[in-house]
Symmetry: C2
Amino acid sequence: MQRTRFADMACSIARTLDVIGEPWSPLILRNVYVGITRFEQLQQSLGISRKVLSERLNWLAHNGVLQRQKYSDRPPRHEYTLTTKGQELCDLLLVMVRWGDRWTAGESGPPVLYRHHACGQISHVELRCSVCGRPMHATDIDVLPGPGA
Amino acid sequence: MQRTRFADMACSIARTLDVIGEPWSPLILRNVYVGITRFEQLQQSLGISRKVLSERLNWLAHNGVLQRQKYSDRPPRHEYTLTTKGQELCDLLLVMVRWGDRWTAGESGPPVLYRHHACGQISHVELRCSVCGRPMHATDIDVLPGPGA
């Protein structure tokens, strides 16, 4: 397990990867986001082993990304919902989607479309500067050491 | 290896994870982005085995994210640069940074700061709608099937 090392790095990318840095976790997050919240549903939808799914769900709950709730006592059954921390992590998925749509979707086009509540239009996310509101990409910035370096 | 299955899913998140869905690849991308471009530098900086690094670099080059260039003939030595596809993937890192700064940096604060060229201010990325320009987050959208579903 890489977990300890990634969490110990003074890097917000590494620390984020410590939480979701293996491929199943973002897909679990995606499924919970679209309403596939119960263990059995998640397991069938993803086609992964119960053991792996259980480990990932426990890790995401331990990290405060998902909240675990019992919806049946007999038999005991649980479902998972996104915390605020988890909802904000879903923003990462939207940016993944944008890149994946552009570079991996091919001729058949985007598998999924997003309709923005505010304007009602099919759209995608764009990255903007929190100060001036203009486009902000990896090519538009200088990287400087911060207080937690 | 999960690769084939992820690439075959009709999901731009899964397909993106097929390219960078294990924790070292985003950190390799981060390092190349900040100018740590040579194999030896990358290996020392990340502290991973030459075998793992070599595999990851080959995979990222195979997927058109990195470009491999020889900078010395004797001995043969290579460096890696970001393609346009790779530069755009670095946007994902900025969004990881934002989440990691908010949720994992703790009291010591962000390890790294970003200065936006356009306004010269220390800032971070915000997600906006490509159509109306207003904030767009995972909680602000409906998900619909697309042409590639």
